[in-house]
Amino acid sequence: MSKYQILVEQAKNKRALQTESKLYQYLTEDHQNELDALAIDLSAINNHIKVDDEILNDAVIDYGLISKKLIKKLSWPDESIHILPQGSSSTKTLINSPDSSKFDIDAVCIVDASVIDVTDPMKFYELIGDALEEWKPIPKKRCWTITFSDRRYYLDFTPSTQLDKVREVAETYVQYEPGHKYSEKALAVVDTPTEKWKTSNPEGFSDWITNQSERLLLQWRSEDSTALKEFSESITPVPDQEVLLSDTLRIAIRLLKRHRDMSVKRGIIQSELKPISIIIVTLLTKCYEGLADMSEVYTHPIKLLIDLVDLMPHMLEERGNDYWVSNPTVSGENFSEKWNTNSDLKREFDTWTRQVKSDLVDIMDITDDADRSIKIKQVFGCTGAKATDPPTGSGLTDNKPDKLYKAPATKGLA
């Protein structure tokens, strides 16, 4: 049995012992109508919250521009910098924030080790920071953050270089080893609190998500459900082979991240203690991988989604007295390390996962369409419903004023 298969088995056993969750019943009983309705709602929400490719393309252009300027400024050879998206932008799980505020787009800036002094990671980190001066970068733990006033995103720029080159230098310590899988894609980044190199594997992590999400768990045919088939056909253009919610893993990630953000807005969890995205992504993907290893088959995307959500909290490992969410691409790295020194973080995770399940049960239990729409809006901050773009011929183009008129300031300070 694979290690995640074992974890899923254990998670199922833990779930069986729990009496509070009603979510599981929807997997075993016949709730076709509820499942179809939820699939339609969640698909619409997914479309609403995911970040348009256009924005990601803009970010890629910005990164390219910055790297070109860096090469010029540092007088490095062409091709000495390679930019690689990381985090949710590379795993295609980036979401809009509920209040439309700015979001981070992460990228690693891989610099050819031959042009830098790899014995001194901080010198390398500062060198990149200095070269980015014109964008007024803000130093973070492992990256530099750049803000553009006219963009909806921040760019997190992580300086890195090839791990093997760093390790070749005698006595250069690198925190963590690359994981067994995807080890050839591992990089060295600068961990500024410790002022040391640290192994990172953004490309490996992204590949892991992609590889797992491509594994077929869903054998679902739209003709099984008339409602869903009709809905799928009503959204054009939809490629013939595309099935509603077929990319279930990524959709589960996006929905849970959104639910977490909304739980903060609703006052259920606190902003400074909310579960970090990397933990949600890792637990869900491990669960997906374990289910795939077990050759599980789902006949409805919502059944798979419910199982992922329901099992996800139980995928957390306990090693001795410590909680563990291991990074599958960097050996020894524990994403939940802070939980072991701050129990509030684990408590908040538990509060949130209980809320996710309770909200999904509530949504499925509501039969009235209007009430259900209100509940969905409360839980996800949107109904997913979108109107068409504004028509251009609304009559407003005529008689447009030829100068800007402003209402005078009606009040002086008094």
Binding site: D99, R347, S373, K377, A385, L396, N399, P408
Partner: protein, 551 residues
Amino acid sequence: MLLDFDAYLAKHKCIRKELPSSNGTRRFELKLEKMIPERKFDFAILEIPSDFANSEVAKIRLPKNCALNIPHVESDGLLCIGGDPGPSSGASLIPRLYLLLDSFYYKFYYPWLNGDLDADFEKEAMNYWSLHCNNILTSLQPIKKIYTVDNRTGSPVIYKSTFFDNDKIVIAGKDSKLRERYIASLGKGDTVRNVLVAEVPISYPFTPINYPKHEDDIYRLLKSRKEFDNNRDFKKLKVNTHRKNHRIVIFKAPGCSFGYLLPGGPPVTKTKNRSTQSTSNNKLIPLKVERLDLSWITGRDQLPEHIPRQNTHVLVIGVGALGSPVVEQLAKSGVGKISIVDYDNFNAANMSRHSLGADSIGISKVKALSTLVNIRSPSCSVIPYNQSIRSWLDKYSLDDIDVIIDLTGEPEVRLLIDNQRRYFMKPFLISWMEPYVTAAHACLLPIGSFWLEGADRLESLQAVEWPDNVYQREPSCSSQFQSYTSSAALYSVGLTTEAALDLIDGNIDKPIVRHWIRGKDFLDEFHPELKHRDWATVESGQKGMMIEREL
């Protein structure tokens, strides 16, 4: 022009039929697209008032039930999106209408249909909360409003606080001193009862879609906080059969708060037509919350330097025409404690320039002023000393004073304090006005710098050459002292208060003097021979100037 305007209305593709109207306002139905059920509203009416051309603005009205379901809709259905710049913008009727319709469709209607306005409730959270509370408000409601005294903290707390039965208001706060001062200010002899309060910090303001609707929603939010695990007070709060005290919960987001009265509590009695009705509250009632914490009342959360001033103790010597308003201003600026020393009683001749009024004639100035400021600014405790500074110094020490301010104009006082400062290292402000308030001066002396450099320096710092026939000190044996107006003195109040705050905030590291000097025409009004000293000459055409020099 009006014909053009009528033709514009008739031809406009977005303006449908004109509707009947009874008050002279012309009303037109606006064109709407087919809307999905979640975002649908039944109509949008363009309202053009009868005096649209000269004084009024056109508006757009939606059904009343859109309020709290769609952002920017007021309780009467009016859309609050701006648009019509009004007659004073210089725009004629057609461009004004164009801009209104443009705002309606492109800043409101299509963004609403696309979900782009969904986050807008959060931006004006308190307005919508107020609307929500007003919708539910009834005359039998036991509590109508909560005032919070404490700053928002990181952890939830439960405590007993105070409730005024007649006014139906709660003063919520754990800080008993500050709370008691607000009770004295707001209570006005009302019956005081206890109320159980839970304060819970939340990261973001609530919006209409996630307002807690039921008692269980409240407990779910409280239960998610570790502080309430097995908390005895929380268990008390949850007792639904509570008859003795009301129970309220306040959710505090950064910048705004949301209150709830839980069901239960003592019944409310109401007498009507000689019969008394007694009703127990059985609903969850939303309550408006108004902040009285220092960060809000002194600077609307935008002046963080006011907070440390709460721990500052200032000594003000002399509470006359300059001192009394300066004490008021310091209290409003967040200073936590002010000791005021003056042996004088308030009399009729002071009335035109002093903070006190007719109700204080014959009373000690310090006693009347401390009562006034303590009631008006409860975040400051003003302590009166009806005596001379010399006798005050015999009894008390400058040791626990942070900044000393002399507003007497008396050389003896300056001398006395300056000598004391050789033993007690305290910053010192000396401020005074010249006759007619032709000039005012503030000497800022940080620790280690002294007023006396051989002789008293006041005369050398004055801006105007005074002839002998102008009294520069109020004579004790004459009533001929030249008067000045309260408004003229207010310039020196501002100068002095700002100087005091600079010393309090620790912004001054070397001795300086600041001057406010009126222009020559102001001097000429009072005395033909008056002239500025060379350094203080105000350029012709200027009404006054403010300068700062090293001392």
